[in-house]
Symmetry: C2
Subunit: 437 residues, 2 copies
């Protein structure tokens, strides 16, 4: 049997501890699968005294993760520290430069430095594996990077943030407000004390930027993503969506268009009968559409120590099965130096159906005025429904429009017009509708 | 750049022609991904004169696939002939023995000879890849064999036959009979002239036997599968399922139980709100449940020239990325020689909920008699509903029972009892209910 694969792990939080536990408890099976033993020979974490309930065996303790990264006693460096700069960046870079394979779960790091790190890995002939960085335990990186060789992707989209999906699921199932669901998510540990990063879409955007690069062979462009979070989704939206046969999900969508690549993160209406609409709670899902394979959907746990550890261990096992001298496939599907520049599509030219919810004064002529603004902007309507809402004394009317395929620019112009007409008592709510099988 | 990977393809039907087309049309991108060119250097098929609309370039034509398999001018042998014996078996065996990597889409061959072929591949240090053999374009082999390293699987189940799912989908959507849908499936090319193999579950069983081996590290045991097809599913079943919040799917299920491994193929009720219930038409889906990752679901096109070719090309690309001297992971997850003997669980001890539809004489006391038989066998009922059906003159009553978790043995005994009581005007219909997220 080949020599053991020596693993160094930086970061011993929930995921790190799970990885150590899996490697220890499943040692026999992993050895059988990989043809060699996996041994944790080094670890780095801040608090040496904390009891993590894991057996670190004879692993050497490093206070400095960069020291571990450069250690001659490891073959693979596993980065589970987090953050897009600082120690995470320093140690991953150091490990690659020292010729170590790297496994990371760090989407923020890859979104910012992924291409540069891939260049180092490819120059050094080592692997940079990052299955856990997108959609937790779902093997979407492996699928896009390996299984889809020869396919040209036209669109990739998914539910990439468990916190948002948990909130939206509970809002729909229990009729609760966004705020109440967020508070529960925080109590249960699904959301951070400062939840901005999750609920405003940044986390989804980071993950999406990585999928975009794999899908279209372009440089990662995480800053060029149109982003709208879920904090302004109301019960009125969720109920109206349900009545119209839709469910609201926060999706990350990357799509090839004539003007370039569209990357967008926003609340989206998907048909209630679609597969992705049944993805509830903290579960994630990714759909990929290609010319040869067609449409593929993967769903599973997007977060949590064990699910993330599963992806990390899978990445380590892939490295264990490789041997010195093996020529690895490129980090982002095509060699980092040959990744194309990212050309951003104009969001205003985005084509699709739209859901528009207007809260209007209860007076004659509103309906007609709204319909006229739509017609003036060449927007064809699938339906227009009027509801009365609120207590009798202050009746407000809600007008809900569903448009046929149109452009973002036309919708924005129409809504501006309606707003100028003075009929609205509140800001118009606009939610994109996404085709989904 | 490394030397080109020389590919020999045996079988130039729909899939074979698609594979040649993808390799030719996507040459530049495949070269970029693999770090070397893929070139079709040899082909074998029966009819040399047929116009397949593909460019075979300078490929050498072999009338005998075994000749191609042994040719010194290929690195990879792609078997797309089909059949579990004859030329397919002969040429795959010959290719492996000659030290060629093999890619095959042949589930029947693997179900019968998979373990023996894996032993040869592992002895010779070559790859035997078979992503296309199960669930067409869905990367379920790669997921189970590579991404799930370290996971212990408890259950794997799926919609593995597009023909059956197409028929069940149309029966439900359009209220048509099984026979009418089958005829349409044949007209559209989704079903063979002799559809037995698809509709009675054999095709699903072959695919399931491969997944079972990957899931539990056991020898393939395709002959030890409990099998029930969909030909006796009626509109009455589909309607009753719908009313109870279920949809009927033909599932292949492999599950670890205390007495051994359960492998079963049968029509199954899954909750209408589950993800797998939204998998319609010829689409396939596989759900995998493990201790670490949790529950993963993959869905996508399960058949068709292009989807299958996508999986075949992915397998070839994986080989292209490997290099001489590379130690490959085992064919079925663990080395073929270490696959455990398959220990079959007793089907009668299968635990789960059951749907039972009884057509009974319209007379007093039937309800009570049925309920008593259930109670006598310790079967607890979730619901019991009585329907009148048929034209007035010959009113028959339908009694529909949904049981809580019980055993197959208890249900069979209860139904035998009811049948003996003489209340039934037709054979009892029993359909298992499967938990599905």
């Amino acid at each position: 049997m080949a020599e053991a694969l020596r693993v160094g792990i930086a970061g011993l939080g929930t995921v790190g501890a799970s990885v150590v536990r899996v490697i220890t408890e499943k040692a026999a099976e992993l050895t059988r699968q990989c043809g060699r033993e996996l041994v944790v020979t080094g670890v780095a974490a801040r608090d040496r005294s904390r009891d993590r309930g894991i057996d670190l065996g004879g692993a050497t303790w490093f206070d400095d993760p960069v020291g571990l990264a450069r250690s001659a006693d490891i073959d693979v460096f596993v980065e589970l520290i987090g953050g897009d700069e600082g120690p995470a960046f320093a140690c991953v870079k150091a490990a690659l430069e020292a010729g170590r394979h790297v496994v990371t779960a760090n989407k923020a790091l890859l979104a910012k430095h992924g291409v540069a790190l891939a260049e180092i890995a490819e120059k050094k002939g080592v692997l940079l594996n990052y299955e856990a960085a997108v959609a937790g335990g779902i093997p979407v990186i492996k699928t896009m990077r390996e299984a889809m060789a020869g396919n040209s992707v036209s669109r990739v989209f998914g539910i990439l943030n468990g916190t948002c999906n948990y909130i939206l699921t509970r809002m729909e199932a229990e009729g609760l407000t966004f705020e109440a669901c967020l508070k529960d998510a925080q109590r249960l540990g699904y959301a951070e004390a400062d939840p901005t990063f999750d609920i405003e879409g940044n986390d989804t955007a980071h993950k999406l930027s990585i999928l975009t690069s794999l899908a279209f062979g372009t440089k990662i462009a995480a800053d060029d993503i149109y982003m709208e979070g879920i904090s302004n989704i109301s019960q009125a939206d969720i109920r109206a969506a349900g009545e119209l046969g839709y469910r609201i999900k926060l999706l990350g969508v990357a799509q090839k268009t004539e003007s370039g690549i569209e990357q967008r993160v926003h609340p989206t209406m998907v048909p209630t009968a679609s597969v992705i609409a049944q993805v509830h709670g903290v579960t994630n899902a990714v759909a990929i559409e290609t010319d040869i394979l067609g449409e593929l959907l993967l769903s599973g746990p997007g977060a949590g120590g064990n699910a993330t550890a599963s992806a990390v261990v899978g990445d380590i096992a892939d490295i264990a099965k490789s041997r010195p001298g093996f020529q690895h496939g490129p980090v982002f599907g095509r060699p980092a130096k040959e990744l194309r520049p990212y050309k951003k599509a104009q969001m205003r030219s985005h084509e699709g159906g739209y859901f528009i919810r207007l809260t209007v004064h209860d007076r004659v002529g509103v309906f007609a005025a709204v319909a006229k603004r739509m017609a003036d902007n060449d927007i064809s309507l699938e339906s227009i429904v009027q509801h009365a809402a609120g207590p009798e004394a202050e009746v407000q009317k809600t007008v809900i429009l569903v448009t046929h395929e149109t452009t973002e620019a036309a919708v924005r112009k129409a809504v501006e017009g309606i707003t100028k007409d003075g009929h609205l008592t509140d800001k118009a709510q606009v939610i994109r509708i996404e085709r989904a099988g």
